[in-house]
């Protein structure tokens, strides 16, 4: 049975923890709003890019000379997994859900006899994946020092991926990140980016015939496909960022509530014990007086 003093100390420490989690929740909420705005602002570009590429790729689907980024190397042997996670923890299941998905995917590929290479973006993912897949990690990017995620950061990752692809280091690239659905729900997502896949390829094909291309269809495609990789990664990073703060916010909200419950419980037993002690002292005095 803890003494009164112990209980008092514990209550004080839980209160201090609650203050911290509450502050973190507020900070996450403010950052979440900014992250969401950034994600919204990036959407028009990604949408238009997707539309243009969808129509171009539909027109070039049969073309034997289409760029490799579009039709793939024709092989399916070496897979590159780009795993984007957060830089920090304390965000509930955010990091672990992305990592679990990437790990399951990697293990599945390995059991099929494929070669797996991993590029991690973000410190957390690197730390955890390093334990199981030390030999598979080919590169690691961190944005620890970056305050505001910009397109340049995404481009840096994209250039690494493209350099690996051009060197023939892999055949298929898949991007892992958490898609932002709402503050309480973020969905770990795997998205194949090389060879490129477009959602509405069929819808765009009708318009493509009317276009005039300068310099040429092929050149534009070759120019746009690498850029599209950067755009896709940028979008994933922004979604990830928003998801991270969403997850952190709800995790911290839970923590604050749990701390509150704990304080109530501890206060109750503190008061009980205090009363018990008073009663005990009274009994001692009374029985002492009666004995006289």
């Amino acid at each position: 049975m803890p003494s009164l003093k112990d209980l008092k100390n514990r209550i004080a420490s839980v209160k201090a923890t609650q203050k911290i989690t509450k502050a973190m929740k507020m900070v996450a909420a403010a950052k979440l709003r900014r992250a969401q705005e950034a994600a919204e602002a990036a959407r028009p570009y990604a949408e238009r890019m997707n539309r243009v590429l969808a129509s171009l790729s539909a027109a070039n689907a049969e073309n034997a000379e289409a760029p490799l980024l579009l039709k793939g190397t024709g092989k399916n042997q070496v897979h590159l997994l780009i795993v984007a996670t957060g830089e920090r923890g304390l965000a509930g299941g955010f990091n672990s859900s992305i990592i679990r998905m990437a790990r399951d995917h990697a293990l599945k590929l390995i059991s099929e006899g494929k070669t797996v290479k991993i590029l991690t973006v973000g410190r957390k993912g690197n730390d955890i994946l390093r334990r199981t897949f030390r030999e598979n990690i080919v590169d690691y990017v961190t944005f620890r020092e970056v305050k505001q995620l910009g397109f340049v950061n995404a481009n840096e990752v994209a250039q690494k991926v493209l350099a690996l692809f051009n060197a023939g280091e892999f055949d298929v690239a898949t991007l892992f990140y958490a898609r932002f659905q709402s503050v309480i729900s973020q969905v770990a997502t795997a998205q194949q980016i090389i060879p490129a896949k477009f959602e509405d390829a069929a819808a765009g094909s009708s318009a493509s015939a009317l276009y005039e291309y300068e310099p040429g269809e092929q050149e534009i495609l070759e120019d746009l496909l690498p850029r599209n990789i950067a755009v896709q990664i940028f979008r994933a990073l922004l979604e990830n960022n928003a998801s991270f703060y969403g997850a952190q916010m709800s995790a911290m909200d839970n923590a604050t509530r749990n701390a509150g419950e704990m304080i109530n419980k501890l206060t109750l037993s503190y008061n009980r014990q205090r009363q018990a002690q008073i009663t005990k002292e009274l009994i001692e005095i009374i029985s002492g007086a009666e004995a006289l």
């Binding site: 950034a38 238009r48 243009v52 397109f151 276009y211 005039e212 300068e214 120019d223 950067a230």
Partner: protein, 134 residues
């Protein structure tokens, strides 16, 4: 009075402009081109340079863009720039930094094709430097 059409200038980070305009001059790879309403559907890559927009209200806005492409339809024009800033915000420092980055990239690149492309970009940027107010 010329016909107005929709013009959008987007960079990956934000939508810079979405307005009714009467005339847009874009620095296409094969030379500058002026887009008016009812332009034939065209898709072109652009190089780094100055985009001049004449708004429907008669005002003229200028933007500095760095690479990208334009999607032109009879009803509107969308310019997707890799990065873009209003001319008023474009400073010599920004340009110098881009040029410096590009130079170091040229030194580090191994493939000749890539280097040629980068050198073209460098030439565009240097040219742009001459047109900006110091």
């Amino acid at each position: 009075m010329a016909n107005a059409f929709d013009f959008e200038l987007v960079s990956p980070e934000r939508l810079l402009l979405s307005e009714k305009v009467t005339e847009v001059v874009i620095p296409a790879t094969l030379g500058e081109m002026t887009v008016l309403a009812n332009h034939a559907p065209t898709m072109t890559t652009i190089k780094s340079g100055l985009v001049t927009v004449r708004l429907a209200s008669g005002q003229v806005a200028k933007y500095v863009v760095f690479g990208g492409f334009a999607d032109i339809l009879p009803t509107g024009c969308t310019l997707l720039a890799e990065s873009a800033v209003p001319e008023s915000e474009a400073s010599r420092d920004l340009l110098d930094k881009k040029i410096k980055d590009l130079r170091s990239e040229i030194d580090n690149t191994l493939s000749d094709d890539h280097r040629t492309k980068l050198e073209h970009m460098l030439a565009d940027l240097t040219h742009l430097g001459g047109t900006l107010p110091a």
